[in-house]
Amino acid sequence: MTKANLAIEVSGLHKSFGRTHALDGLDLTVETGEVHGFLGPNGAGKSTAIRVLLGLLRADAGAARVLGRDPWADAVEVHRRIAYVPGDVTLWRNLSGGEVIDLYGRLRGGLDAGRRAELIERFELDPTKKGRTYSKGNRQKVALVAAFASDVDLLILDEPTSGLDPLMEEVFQRCVREERDRGRTVLLSSHILSEVEELCDRVSIIRKGVTVESGSLTDLRHLTRTTVTAELAGPPGGLARLPGVHDLDIQGNRVHLQVDTDKLNAVLRSLTDSGVRSLTSTPPTLEELFLRHYQDDVQAAVASGVAVAR
C-alpha cells in the first residue's frame, strides 16, 4: 500500500477529545516534492491532524505514515527529517531569537550556517532580542528561519504567515518555492487564499475532521460551476433540459446561467446552435471554491461532489 513517492499518507484517521470528534476519518496524501495546501475553516481539525503527523497526539483509529514511517512509534526518526512551524510561536522569555534558531536546528540534526545568515537578512530579523520582546510576526520569523535553514525533507507549516506583513509574505513565498526547487515537500496549512493559489501544487480541504476535496487547483475548479453570459442571434432552445445547468435566466436573446464546469461543452454546443453574438465565461474564483466548502448549508452539494484523489 505504501508508495515510495508519498511524503504523507493518511487514511481514515479518527481522533476524539472526550465527546468532540476532532478527526472523523481524515484522508490526506502528499506527494514527495510538492507544496500541498491544507485548508479548512477554524476548528476543522487541521492543527489536530498536524499534531498527529508530528506524533504529539496518538490517533484513535486509521493509518498515518510520514516519510514512510509511523509518526507515533518512530517519532524521533521522523522528526530528524521534518521542520515544523506552529501557528502560535511561543519563545522562552530569556533566550534570544538566535539562540532558539540554533537550538532548533541542532535538535533536528543540522543547520546550514550560511543559509541561516541569509535568511535572517532576508526576513530582517534581529536575532539578539530576547523572546519576550518579539512581536507575533517576529516570533514567527524565528521559527521560519529555523525551519528553512534546517536540512530536512519535509516542512510542516501551520498557518505560518498570520503575523507577517506583505513584504515578509513575499519573502516567505520565495523561500517556499526555493524549498520546492530543492526537492523538499511542504505541507502548508493556511487561510490566505492568494498564498495557497500562488504556492500550492495540490490542496486538500477538510471540514469537521473529514477531507471533503483534494486535488490540484485545476481539478478543483473543474468540479465547480462556470458562469456563462451570452447574447444570441435567436431565442435559445433546450438549455433547461441540459444536465448540470443551474440558475438559468433567459431574457429575450440574452442568456445568463451557471453550469457545472465538466458539463460546459454541451451548453456551448447548444448556444452556438442559436448563433452566438457575444459570450463571457467566468471560471469560479478560489474564494467561491472555498466558501462552498466552508459554509454549512452546502454540505449536500459537497457530499455529491466528493472526489478524494487517490
Binding site: 492543527s47 517519532a75 538566535g98
Partner: protein, 535 residues
C-alpha cells in the same frame, strides 16, 4: 474641565477610571491565593500562645526565657529581642518577624501579579484599551494588597484579643504595615523592570536585605535599639513592642514609607508607556550554544537552582552556628526539650536540634523538587514544548533533562545545606552530610509523585503542590502538636532515621528510594503513552 488640547501628562482627568471594576476582577482572580496566604500566616500567629504556654507554662519559666534571650545574640538575630514575659509579648516575639516576612511575600506577589505580569503577558494592552485610567491598574493592584493585609490584621487582632485587645490590634496593624510597605515597594520595582520574574526577585532581595539588617542589628544590641534594626521595616515591627507597652507612633513609619513609595510608583506609572520599563532589557547573543534538550532544561532552571543553593547554604550556616547556643538556651526546659526530641530524635539536644533543622530543610527541598518537576508542565501548557518535541527529541529525553535538574538538584542543595551546617557548627562533617543525604529519599518520593501525576495528566500535575504542602504541614506542625505516629507516618519523611545522633536505618531509606524510582518510571511510561496537550 480639561479639554483635549489642555491635557498635560499626569494631570488629565479619569486617571483612575475603571479602578472598581479592575479591583473586583483582581479579587476574583485571587479568591484562592489571598485567603490561603492570610489563613496560613494568621494561623501561624494564632497558634503561638497555646504552643508557648505548653513550653513555658509558668511565669518563672517565661521570665527565665526572657533573661536568656538578652544574652543569646545568635537567637536574637534569628527571632528578635523579647520585650516582656507575657504570653502576648512572647507571641509577638516568636511570630512577629516571620509573620511580617509572610505578609511581605504575599503583598509583593499580589502587586506584581496584577501589574508587571499583566503587562509582560500582553493582557494589560487589552485592558488599557478599555475605559481604564492610566493609573487604575496600579491602584487596583495596591488595593487588592491592602484588602489582603487588612484581612490579615483583622484576623490577628480578633485571634489575639484574649491577650489584650489594643495590643492585638497594634500587632495586627504592624504585620499589615510590613505587608503594605512591600506592596508599594513591589509597585515601584514593577515600573523599573520589564520582566515580572526579575521584579519579584528584586523585591524579594530587598526583603532579604531587610531581614539581614534587622538580624545584624539585633545581634549587636538587645532591645532593638541598633540603627541597623531601625533601617528595616521588619525592625519597625519588632520595635513597635506589641503587648509590651506598645509604641503606637512606630506605625507612622509604615504609613510614611507606604505613602512615599506609593507616590513614586504613581509618578513613574504615569510617565511611562504600557509594557515598557525604566531599566532597558539587554540584548542576548545572536548565536546560541545550546544543542540538546538537557542543556535547554539546565539553561531554563539554572537561575532557580542558584537561588535555592544560596538559600540552603546560608540557612545551613545560620542554623549550624545556632546549634550549640540552642542547647544552652533550652537548658532544662522540659517542654522545649521534648519538642525538639520529637522532631529530631533522642540523643542530646545539639544533635536533636541539628536533626530537626536538617529535616526542616528536607521538607523545603520537597518544594524545590516539585517546582523543578512541574517545569515540564509549564513548558507543555505554554506551547513551548511542542516545537521542541517536533524536533528529533524523544519525550523521555526532553523530560529527562528537567528531571535530572530536579532530582540531582535536590541532592546538590541538600549537600550545600550540609556544608553550611558543617561550617556553621564547626564539627562532625560526616554525620551531618550523611543526615542531609538521607533526606533525599523523602524528597525523591515527593518528586516521584509529581512525575507520576504529570505523566498521567497535565491537569493532575498541580496536585503535587498539595502533596508537598501536606508533607510540609505534617513535618512542621505535626511534632509540635504531638500528632499521633499514624499521622506522621503518612509523610515519607516520617520514616527517615533521625540523624545525626540516631541510628542509621538503611531499610526505610532504600525502600523509599526504590519507591521513588518506581513512581518516576511509572510517570515516564504514562507520559510516553499520552497525548501532548496543546495548552
Amino acid at each position: 474641565m480639561t479639554t483635549a488640547f489642555a491635557v498635560r501628562p499626569g494631570s488629565s482627568t479619569g486617571q483612575l477610571t475603571g479602578t472598581g471594576t479592575l479591583l473586583r476582577f483582581a479579587l476574583r482572580r485571587d479568591r484562592v491565593m489571598v485567603p490561603v496566604w492570610v489563613a496560613v500566616t494568621g494561623l501561624m500567629v494564632l497558634s503561638m500562645p497555646n504552643s508557648l504556654k505548653s513550653l513555658y507554662g509558668t511565669g518563672a519559666e517565661r521570665a527565665d526565657l526572657m533573661r536568656q534571650m538578652a544574652t543569646n545574640s545568635s537567637l536574637r538575630a534569628l527571632i528578635g529581642p523579647v520585650f516582656d514575659d507575657s504570653l502576648g509579648a512572647l507571641t509577638a516575639w516568636r511570630a512577629g518577624v516571620y509573620a511580617g516576612v509572610l505578609a511581605a511575600v504575599m503583598s509583593l506577589l499580589v502587586v506584581i501579579r496584577h501589574t508587571r505580569d499583566e503587562e509582560e503577558s500582553g493582557r494589560q494592552e487589552l485592558i488599557a484599551s478599555g475605559t481604564v485610567g492610566r493609573r487604575a491598574s496600579l491602584t487596583a493592584a495596591l488595593l487588592t494588597a491592602a484588602v489582603a493585609n487588612g484581612g490579615l490584621a483583622l484576623l490577628v487582632t480578633l485571634g489575639l484579643a484574649g491577650q489584650g485587645a489594643a495590643s492585638a490590634a497594634a500587632f495586627g496593624l504592624g504585620i499589615a504595615g510590613v505587608g503594605t510597605v512591600f506592596a508599594t515597594m513591589a509597585a515601584v520595582v514593577a515600573q523599573l523592570t520589564e520582566s515580572a520574574r526579575l521584579a519579584r526577585g528584586l523585591t524579594a532581595g530587598v526583603l532579604g536585605a531587610a531581614f539581614v539588617l534587622r538580624a545584624a542589628g539585633d545581634a549587636s544590641e538587645d532591645g532593638g535599639s541598633s540603627v541597623l534594626t531601625w533601617l528595616s521595616p521588619l525592625g519597625w515591627l519588632e520595635n513597635e513592642r506589641s503587648f509590651a507597652d506598645e509604641r503606637w507612633w512606630v506605625l507612622l513609619l509604615f504609613v510614611a514609607a507606604t505613602a512615599v513609595q506609593g507616590a513614586v510608583a504613581y509618578e513613574l506609572a504615569g510617565r511611562r508607556d504600557v509594557g515598557m520599563s525604566f531599566l532597558p532589557t539587554r540584548p542576548g547573543p545572536a548565536a546560541g550554544r545550546l544543542s540538546t534538550a538537557g542543556a535547554l532544561a539546565w539553561r531554563l532552571q539554572r537561575g532557580s537552582v542558584l537561588g535555592w543553593s544560596i538559600g540552603f547554604f546560608l540557612t545551613g550556616v545560620v542554623y549550624g552556628g545556632l546549634a550549640e547556643g540552642m542547647a544552652d538556651f533550652v537548658g532544662d526546659n522540659e517542654g522545649a526539650r521534648a519538642m525538639f526530641e520529637r522532631m529530631g530524635g533522642q540523643s542530646g539536644l545539639t544533635n536533636a536540634f541539628l536533626a530537626s533543622m536538617i529535616g526542616m530543610l528536607g521538607l523545603f527541598a520537597a518544594l524545590y523538587v516539585v517546582a523543578a518537576v512541574l517545569r515540564l508542565h509549564g513548558e507543555e501548557t505554554s506551547g513551548r514544548a511542542e516545537p521542541v518535541l517536533a524536533n528529533a527529541v524523544g519525550r523521555l529525553r526532553w523530560a529527562g533533562g528537567h528531571l535530572a535538574v530536579a532530582f540531582a538538584g535536590s541532592v546538590w542543595i541538600m549537600l550545600l545545606a550540609g556544608l553550611g551546617f558543617v561550617l556553621g557548627h564547626g564539627r562532625s562533617a560526616g554525620p551531618i552530610l550523611g543526615a542531609c543525604l538521607v533526606q533525599v529519599a523523602g524528597i525523591w518520593v515527593v518528586g516521584g509523585v509529581a512525575v507520576l501525576l504529570y505523566g498521567l495528566s497535565p491537569r493532575a500535575a498541580s496536585g503535587a503542590w498539595g502533596l508537598a504542602g501536606a508533607v510540609l504541614l505534617i513535618g512542621w506542625i505535626g511534632p509540635a502538636l504531638n500528632a499521633p505516629r499514624a499521622v506522621l507516618d503518612l509523610s515519607p519523611f516520617g520514616h527517615l532515621p533521625k540523624l545525626p545522633g540516631g541510628e542509621m536505618e538503611w531499610g526505610p531509606v532504600l525502600s523509599l528510594t526504590g519507591l521513588a524510582a518506581v513512581l518516576v518510571a511509572g510517570g515516564l511510561a504514562a507520559l510516553r503513552r499520552r497525548d501532548q496537550s496543546s495548552g
